[in-house]
Amino acid sequence: MRTALILLFLLALAAVPGSIVPQSAVDALAVGRWRDEHPTLTPIYDGLGLFSVYESIWFSAIYLLLMVSLVGCFVPRIRIYLRGIRARPPGAPRNLSRLPQFRSFDVDEPSDVALERARAVMRKKRYRVDLVSTLRQAQDTAGSTTEGSVAAERGYLREAGNLLFHVSVLLVLVGFGVGNLFGYKGGVIVVSGQGFSNSLSQYDDFAPGSLFDPEDLAPYNLTIEDFDVQFLRNGPQAGMPTDFSADVTYREEPGLPERTHTLAVNHPLSLEGGSVFLVGHGYAPRVTVRDGEDNIAYRGPVIFLPQDSTFASFGVIKVPDAQPEQLGFQGLFLPTYGFSMETGPVSRFPDALDPVLSILPYRGDLGLDTGAQQSVYELDKKNLEVFKNDKGGDFRLDMALGQTKQLPDGAGSITFDGLDRWAKLQISDTPGKPLALSGVILALLGLLGSLFIRPRRAWVRVASRDGRTFVELGGLDRSAGGGLEEEIDDLERQLRGPSAGSPTEAHKGKT
């Protein structure tokens, strides 16, 4: 018990750093930022596994020890319990008045009736009853005595609840472990009108469990037909999204009939081998870029990532096919354009009321041919040069919807054709979910049993002497729940029956 206590505390303590230090499994970007800001601490934290606390050796060690202690605790207890559950209630102690609760009174019934009543009353109160000794004669100095006793016990299920709780905790851990090992979680941004098919290459990020096989990905595909978002237009919380949803069509397998679903927060699409969740959204301006030779070098939507609640979004456009030089653009998309001298261009509202692209054009080498991995949301500006305006400053393009702007030196043009929205989908499968859920529900049931079932023992001794029947009643609480006194009071009332005698002795100890 003491070991388990200490391990529980260690577990609680060990969980704390994971809420303070960014976790790579939760937010990889935040971990990257943190690493950049703390170059000296990073290697130490890396060594301690502080960026993935819940997968670290020391965290695993604590909960594995806890599991061992759990098993070591309840296996012997199951044996004891199985033996105990078949045992008869122990006989009455010699001196009932030493028990925490004790009553003694006399009744006007013959002793055999009183004894039978005691048995019936205990039965009715759901005690397991054992008539330890039937009436027998005894002779002592006080005269002739007839004596008998009833032993009763109840609350056997408390320990069962306790054991169920501990076993269920193991079930939950197993279910959780299965999910972590065989599950996966991936994210992908899909522009409205475009599709996604469930294969590894389509994901923007993918985090498989260590035993997950990408071959097992279910072969479904889906298309986002339409994306709808509503923002609160006025009031103090204006700008808050009130609703967003995506109409999707999907096929569970190629060749199967197409079906539709409205994907929304709290309303995922559940498929065989994974569920699709809508977790975010943003804007994808459609642009056409013509190069210096007036050929269309790029046409299509470009995903911009929202930076704040106004949906001012950052993005880049890479045009590797532009001639004679490659072109690149980087800047902000502002759904509702605003401007002030202090802040420069800003977005005043998250909905696309007055959409403006505010970007800087670059020319040179995008660095795509080197073979190195490159983010689609970043320009590698090593070999790029920003266009300059007449005054020698950076040449900025501010374009409203439908506008076309020429680049300096006849390097080309860019047109802001239209606006799409994109949805961020999270696709994940967590096997072992039913196991974990049933485990935690069973644990709760066991917990309720172990907390609220009150195991008690009670004994009644009936003795008749000189034509009078004396009843002694003693009670013992086998848990710390309290309430024994009320229970024994109630038993006393019922034992006295219709013919109430007068109490001769009682003590109500601490319960």
Binding site: M1, R2, A4, L5, L8, F9, L11, A12, A15, G18, S19, A25, V26, D27, A28, L29, A30, V53, Y54, F176, K185, G187, D205, L232, G235, P236, Q237, M240, P241, T242, D243, V265, N266, H267, P268, F277, V279, G280, H281, G282, L305, P306, D308, S309, K424, Q426, I427, S428, T430, K433, L437, V440, L444, L447, L451, F452, A480, G481, G482, K510
Partner: protein
């Protein structure tokens, strides 16, 4: 009434409820001061306030008139608490009605504070008679005054609709369970705290002690009340944090457990209270050690409620509890 009128009513009702809680607190304070047999200067201790005439040894040397006055102030305190509780409830209901569309009134921290303190009052009043809890009166009313004041001063936001992530019936199930468990743990924590105070007085052999402590029930009674509160709260917390929460998280975020800071601390709270229940059944840990663990549990619970949103606001997916958020919390 219009939504704006409901909102205004709710704000006024909270102000009045706080005022009446304060009066109830004062009334319990008077009860204590009289019971202390020092009818003059106001006591310097503020938090702990009043004695229960029902708590065993009634007044010490005070006359009959004092007894009556003590009982009267105590009763006035309880009556005022009932009035404040009703206003408090009205404030919560109208807060929900003030939103368009009408919704459950626990969508942000301000509303959760109001709902949680109402839970504390409800608990205290519901168990007042059965467990003779009047000795908790000053602590409950004092606590509620402080929390409501902080809520109004720091956490207040205008009534408005829910962010989409919260728009689910699991909000009703998950949060109401969390509120009930928070209420039970808070009242249980108060009892544990008083248990520690009382036990210290007992072990020093100060039967008289200062008025309030002397009039508290025996430490064993305090311990039992504390245990019952925690035993009631723990399964509900288990349900709120480890069943309803994960199910909702699975629907909303696509993972039932993601070690989000709020989840981590809910788990820590669960582990600490599990340790409390364990400690109470372990020789050598009963009594003081167990009560201390219960208080640690309460600290983690409150930290989870307040601290996470303030310190880790931008990294927690639960951060909408603080204020308006963007709906792209899932973005890389």
């Amino acid at each position: 009434m219009t939504a704006a009128e409901f909102a205004a009513f709710s704000n006024n009702a909270i102000a009045f409820a706080s005022g009446i809680y304060a009066l109830a607190f004062v009334s319990h304070l008077v009860e204590w001061v009289l019971g202390r047999n020092v009818a003059t200067a106001a006591p310097q201790m503020v938090v702990v306030g009043a004695p229960p005439p029902s708590g065993g040894q009634a007044s010490l040397a005070a006359g009959r008139g004092d007894d009556l006055r003590i009982e009267t102030s105590g009763r006035i305190g309880v009556a005022l608490t009932v009035v404040a509780g009703l206003l408090h409830l009205a404030a919560l209901v109208t807060r929900g009605l003030a939103a368009d569309p009408v919704r459950v009134p626990w969508g942000n921290m301000y509303e959760f504070s109001i709902a949680g303190t109402l839970g504390v009052t409800a608990f205290y009043l519901a168990l007042l008679r059965r467990h003779h809890l009047r000795w908790l009166g000053p602590v409950v009313t004092g606590f509620n005054v402080v929390v409501l004041m902080l809520a109004v001063l720091i956490l207040y936001v205008e009534a408005g609709p829910l962010v989409p992530a919260l728009d689910s019936y699991w909000l009703v199930i998950h949060v109401i369970a969390a509120i009930i468990a928070t209420g039970a743990f808070t009242v249980g924590g108060m009892a544990s705290l008083l248990f520690l105070v009382k036990q210290r007085a007992e072990s020093r052999g100060e039967p008289g002690g200062t008025g309030y402590v002397a009039r508290l029930p025996e430490s064993s009674v305090l311990d039992r009340v504390a245990f019952r509160m925690h035993a009631f709260g723990f399964p509900i917390w288990t349900f709120a944090a480890l069943i309803a929460g994960p199910i909702w998280a699975e629907y909303a975020w696509g993972r039932y457990w993601g070690w989000d800071p709020k989840e981590v601390w809910a788990f820590i709270t669960w582990v600490v209270y599990a340790a409390y229940l364990h400690a109470r059944a372990t020789a050598g840990w009963r009594g003081r050690a167990a009560a201390t663990i219960a208080l640690v549990g309460l600290a983690t619970l409150l930290f989870n409620f307040v601290g996470i949103n303030f310190f880790f606001g931008d990294t927690s997916q639960h951060s909408y509890a603080l204020s308006v958020i963007t709906a792209h919390s899932g973005l890389g």
